[in-house]
């Protein structure tokens, strides 16, 4: 066997689930709500760090040990031992961490909507969120109190890690990571169903009207500010949840994981799939994850064929391809693979069959 196919599939599923959450949340914010969030990674990172800190604090607390300094090696060993031996604690801490992460991220989303509603020109909001994300990274990296500074907060174990803790059997390891991937895909599916219902609800139509014409919506008596606040809160909570899920997968919360390139990839995903289209977000995400994993596999294959290629070169190439895809899409297919569709309501359907398309 060339390499571990099952392990590869599991990791693709995990990353796909996480990025589906992110692209759905950006799609809600930008596609439906018209908020150009260039700092998505801020809420993703906030979710990751709050989940990491909650898990590192609660695990020893629930097990009746002293919490102490979460960054120390001792604390790391203690919490890994607890989560490896105690299934109940491990899963319940994980669930609490997810809830806290989503809450904290949504609070920050609410705070971020403050400037969003006040800036004068359209792109200022993108700038503010981008700067916010960079500030978060600089602060977290250099402040040991939030997630151990430069080295990051390690030892955040897979909540199903206890399955494989007492054996080295690859099957059990696959089972524990596979279960976690299933859990993530479950969250992604739930949020997809939620986003679809949301988008086709009256509130989804309100969002689109705010996106297309704020003054008109206001004239019709809609509370535009309130709507824009709410969409930031909802989107940020989803991104925070994605961050929490990611940190339990990767095992360490480290500031350098939350750079602007991640936001860029999420944007490529939703533009590729089609803006304001949840199915499009799913398609765009799988295409881009495929590209990223594909270049990784290519690197491994080239190495096995003993062709000397710097593995970083493939990463650079991956980014160049992503950027080129985005530029070509904007130029030649701005609606993406699956263009935005009319909201399917009973009224719209009967209207649509009666006359010509009024939506465009």
């Amino acid at each position: 066997m060339a390499f571990d196919v099952i392990g590869l599939l599991i990791s693709v599923a995990t990353v796909y689930g996480i990025f589906t959450l992110l692209s759905l949340s950006l799609n809600l914010e930008y596609g439906y709500g018209g908020q150009p969030n260039f700092g998505q990674v801020l809420f993703y990172g906030i979710g990751a760090f709050s989940a990491g800190l909650v898990s590192a604090t609660l695990l020893p607390l629930f097990a009746g040990r002293a919490v102490g300094d979460v960054c120390s090696i001792g604390a790391l060993v203690t919490r890994e031992a607890i989560s490896a031996s105690n299934p109940l604690l491990s899963v319940s801490t994980w669930l609490i961490a997810l809830v806290v992460a989503a809450l904290v991220a949504s609070i920050f989303g609410f705070l971020a909507s403050y400037p969003a509603l006040r800036v004068k020109e359209e792109w200022y909001l993108s700038m503010i969120l981008l700067v916010g994300a960079e500030m978060f990274r600089v602060i977290v990296r250099n402040t040991p109190q939030f997630g151990c500074g430069y080295n990051g907060l390690p030892g955040i174990s897979n909540p199903f890690g206890w399955i494989s803790s007492n054996s080295n059997s690859p099957l059990l390891i696959d089972l524990s990571t596979g279960l976690y991937a299933m859990a993530i895909l479950g969250f992604a599916t739930l949020s997809y169903i939620g986003a679809q219902r949301f988008a086709n609800s009256p509130y989804g139509r309100l969002l689109k009207s705010v996106r297309d014409d704020r003054i008109l919506s206001e004239a019709l008596g809609k509370d535009v500010k309130r709507v824009r606040e709410q969409i930031m809160v909802i989107g940020s909570a989803m991104a925070g949840l994605a961050g929490a899920l990611y940190v339990f997968y990767i095992g360490v919360a480290i500031a350098e994981d939350y750079i602007a390139s991640v936001t860029f990839s999420i944007w490529v995903m939703i533009v590729l799939g089609g803006i304001a289209n949840n199915r499009g977000a799913l398609v765009g995400t799988i295409a881009l994850i495929g590209l990223q994993k594909g270049t990784q596999i290519l690197g491994v294959l080239l190495q096995q064929a003993s062709i000397a290629v710097d593995s970083n070169l493939l990463v650079y190439l991956d980014y160049m391809v992503e950027a080129a895809i985005l530029l070509l899409l904007i130029l030649y297919r701005p609606k993406g693979l699956i263009p935005e569709q009319a909201v399917k309501t009973v009224a719209y359907r009967s209207f649509d069959s009666g006359g010509k398309d009024q939506h465009a």
């Binding site: 800036v119 600089v138 070169l313 160049m320 530029l327 701005p334």
Partner: protein, 324 residues
């Protein structure tokens, strides 16, 4: 104690003026881009990287030749800016694509150029390099040494900003550029050839940034992230200047330079704030200015001059106000 205080103060002021001058060079082009084509070009910082690498390559054949390095970097970055304009931005503007999408596209251009440079540098083994020029101490203020780079960059930044200012106010091309900046449609109707003015604007914008990149590369090191690590600082300069004011950009460059060095050194000295927090100062400025005073912090000199002129001419002719 006093001498120590004086020493770091002079040290950080000298450094602030140096870094500020580089920011001026790097930001003038972005201000021009924002004024003429209304594009917040997030790929602007990549011109610094291109300029720095061009300078480093030239210096490997012609060591110590600052003139050739500067001219080469200006030409190459300027040309690449024009190529990007024709390949990406112009087709998008012709299609009247929304500003968010343009911002996203400029992000994509930045990513493409940066990782293109990364790939090339990785193959050529130049991921971190130094131009072959020697930094010579030519004098000192107190105990603070002044180097030849300092002697070149500070006057160069001031002279070039004056030249750009003169170009915009005196020459026909510069005046057309300002006409395009103030009213795109009207300028086109008047018969200003956009096909000349806009590419020329890109040459200046890219070229000046490339020139800034050469000296930044000499001061730090030439890496593929040389420019992009300063992207938000450059935006801070432009935002403080109120986005379209050339004179404001010169002042803004020094404001950010001083904030990052003198103010930071003071914070470190008196409050023990670690230097790693340095980027937070320009970032915070961006947030505060955009939220509370989006017209910028620096006084808008152009409107000041216009106001003075109007006031002087008040008895002779009635000058119509803007928008009439």
């Amino acid at each position: 104690m006093t001498s120590h205080l004086l020493e770091w103060l002079v040290d950080s002021i000298v450094l602030s003026i140096f870094i500020g001058s580089i920011y001026v060079l790097a930001s003038l082009g972005l201000t021009l881009t924002l004024a003429v084509v209304k594009l917040p070009n997030f790929a602007h910082a990549e011109f610094l990287t291109i300029g720095a690498y061009t300078g480093a390559l030239i210096s490997s054949s012609f060591p110590e030749n600052f003139l050739l390095m500067g001219v080469g970097a200006f030409v190459v970055s300027g040309l690449i800016a024009v190529v990007i304009h024709f390949l990406v931005y112009k087709p998008m503007m012709d299609r009247k694509i929304s500003i968010y999408t343009m911002v996203l596209a400029s992000f994509a251009v930045a990513t493409f150029v940066r990782y293109g440079v990364f790939s090339w540098a990785s193959i050529s083994n130049l991921l971190s390099t130094h131009p072959s020029v020697s930094i010579v101490v030519v004098g000192s203020i107190g105990t603070t040494p002044i180097t030849n780079i300092y002697e070149i960059v500070v006057p160069l930044a001031l002279v070039l900003s004056a030249v750009v200012g003169l170009f915009l106010t005196v020459t026909r091309l510069g005046k057309s550029m300002r006409a395009v900046a103030s009213n795109f449609e009207l300028a086109r109707v008047t018969g200003i050839r956009l096909s000349v003015v806009v590419p020329f604007m890109w040459v200046i914008a890219g070229g000046l940034a490339g020139l800034g990149g050469v000296f930044l590369g000499i001061y730090t090191a030439v890496t593929p992230v040389l420019g992009s690590s300063l992207l938000l600082q450059i935006f801070a300069v432009v935002i403080i200047a109120g986005l379209t004011s050339m004179s404001g950009t010169v002042i803004g460059g020094y404001i950010v330079g001083f904030a990052e060095n003198t103010v930071m050194a003071a914070l470190n000295n008196f409050f023990g704030v670690p230097f790693t927090f340095e980027p937070l100062l320009p970032f915070a400025m961006i947030l505060v200015v955009l939220m509370f005073r989006p017209t910028g912090l620096t006084p808008n000199m152009m409107s000041g001059i216009a106001y003075a002129r109007r006031w002087l001419n008040r008895s002779k002719t009635k000058v119509p106000k803007e928008g009439e």
